[in-house]
Amino acid sequence: MNGLSVPEKLSINKYELDESPHIKVDQEICRKRCQNRVCLFICPAKVYNEQNGELAVDHAGCLECGTCLVACTQKAIDWQYPAGGFGIVYRNG
């Protein structure tokens, strides 16, 4: 019914943007060991995308759900909570 894209949905949310990224990816592990690129399809915020064979991360839209951290069995993702007060702010939850 709504047919909104993920970026459109994220734009409805409230975020306090933290300039310094809370997600880091070990490209070496991705290149050498990853079979399925699970982060590209499983992330509900579509934070991950592929650019010139490298994984790019757009941390600003992160919902802090932790799915990528659990799903990446190669442990290529270094994921921490954003600094206090930053990141997603659920107004309803």
Binding site: N2, N13, C65, T67, Y81, Y90, N92, G93
Partner: protein
């Protein structure tokens, strides 16, 4: 001498229940929350079952920002073209004390935070706890930025990912088999339309649990329930299955919302918020260590969640674990001993209560829910049977048994697997 009797990391239901209980008993307790208010980081796709909260705060039904009490529960088997509902409406659920409520966590947790503060707990927000302060494997407090704060006991209420429990060596790195990803939309709908559409009177509410098509064959399910003037709708999908099926939860959610049975229910609604969170789904068999010297783990951080397909529980288990953690700390304070040996009574309290008893009852449910047939073949089977029963043709109707046998054949379910699944369902649910 420690700064506090207890430092609670994380202002969700588990942490705040513990803080409330401790503060009420006169203990010095600090709650640290990384969001700008309790609930700012919290999300739920389930109902709040009120029994244990009533024991902690008897006046909560009058005070808490509850959306609706749920008196109608619908279990739906869904395929692309059909829905089969088990629809239960209990008038008993409309009477005080109500069984379950829909809540919005940014509102509910904030209220619970205020209750804890009124009781005497100190709450600080916008602070991220970086790590535990440890001495010789004993937890002595927390580290946040440059600051260190000490406590006799730290309560790790830091949610399903619990970095603190991991640092203390109480849990392994995440096994995808024990977690699900939940994606959720909150859809605003004016109150009159909502009540007319769902046949609701006053503060009544309806909850749906849906299996099959919603998750595209991935083990998990959909949830759908009414709030005061909005609808919470989303999916919960096991992470290992989602990975191996290579599907995108956000795309699967879109298809689900467009299903002919769902689209009319949310028609005219406006998306107010989109969220996601990992959910503990491993059940009893996936529980890890819940305490060590100077540390207790509660709620999602402890893996306390229960899902038997009909009912998904987490918040009431979280609140209960917070209460038992607080009671354990009060006992330890009386003894002046905060070692693991004393704190072990926390585990005992959980075991003696509905928390671990219920989780144990449904211990097999987590594995049972992983069965492919539950999400693919059975909704298909149900569709086949009822399509045949209700379809009127120009040829004479076959009897019911024949219809069932034919539908079974078409669904690909063997007698052997049917028998074994029924047995497993009876045993585990």
């Amino acid at each position: 001498m420690s700064d506090y009797d207890a430092i609670v990391v994380g202002a969700g239901p588990a942490g705040l229940a513990a803080a409330y209980r401790l503060a009420k008993a006169g203990a010095e307790v600090l709650v640290i929350e990384r969001g700008s208010y309790p609930g700012a980081k919290n999300l739920s796709g389930g109902l709040l079952f009120g029994r244990i909260l009533r024991e902690l705060i008897p006046e909560f039904p009058q005070e808490a920002p509850l959306e609706r009490h749920i008196n109608r529960y619908i279990l739906t088997f869904m395929t692309k073209d059909s829905t089969f509902n088990l629809d239960f409406k209990g008038q008993g659920f409309s009477q005080e004390p109500h069984n379950g409520y829909s809540v919005l966590r940014a509102k509910f947790d904030r209220w619970l935070g205020e209750k804890a503060e009124e009781a005497g707990a100190t709450l600080i927000t916008n602070i991220k706890v970086d790590s535990l302060l440890m001495e010789n494997n004993v937890v002595k407090g927390i580290v946040a930025g440059e600051e260190e704060m000490t406590a006799n006991v730290v309560i790790a209420a830091d949610g399903v990912l619990s970095f603190l429990a991991e640092q203390a060596g109480l849990r392994d790195r995440y096994n995808p088999a024990n977690f699900a990803v939940g994606v959720k939309e909150l859809i605003g709908l004016d109150r009159t339309t909502l009540e007319e559409r769902f046949g609701l009177t006053g503060n009544e509410g309806t909850e749906y649990a849906m299996l099959g098509y919603p998750t595209k064959g991935v083990s998990g399910g959909a949830f759908f329930y009414t709030n005061a003037d909005s609808i919470s709708v989303g999916l919960v999908m096991h992470i290992d299955h989602t990975s191996s099926h290579q599907v995108s939860p956000s795309e699967v959610l879109e298809d689900f919302l467009a299903h002919p049975a769902i689209a009319p229910l949310i028609r005219g609604g406006k998306v107010l918020e989109y969220g996601a969170h990992v959910v503990p789904e491993g059940g009893y068999n996936a529980l890890q260590k819940l305490f060590t010297d100077g540390l207790l783990v509660v709620g999602d951080a402890a893996g306390l969640g229960s899902n038997n397909g009909f009912t998904v529980r987490g918040m009431d288990l979280a609140i209960a674990s917070g209460i038992y953690a607080a009671d354990t700390i009060l006992e330890a304070k009386a003894k002046g001993d905060f070692s693991a040996a004393t704190l072990a009574s926390y585990k005992k309290k959980l075991e003696d209560s509905f928390v671990l008893k219920d989780m144990k009852t449904y211990a097999g449910a987590a594995a049972f829910m992983k069965g492919d047939r539950l999400f693919n073949a059975y909704p298909k089977l149900v569709e086949g049977i009822f399509t045949s029963i209700y379809t009127q043709q120009s040829t004479p109707k076959e009897n019911l048994l024949k219809s069932v046998l034919k539908a079974r054949k078409e669904s690909g379910v063997t007698y052997m697997s049917l028998g074994s699944d029924v047995w497993k369902a009876v045993k585990n649910l």
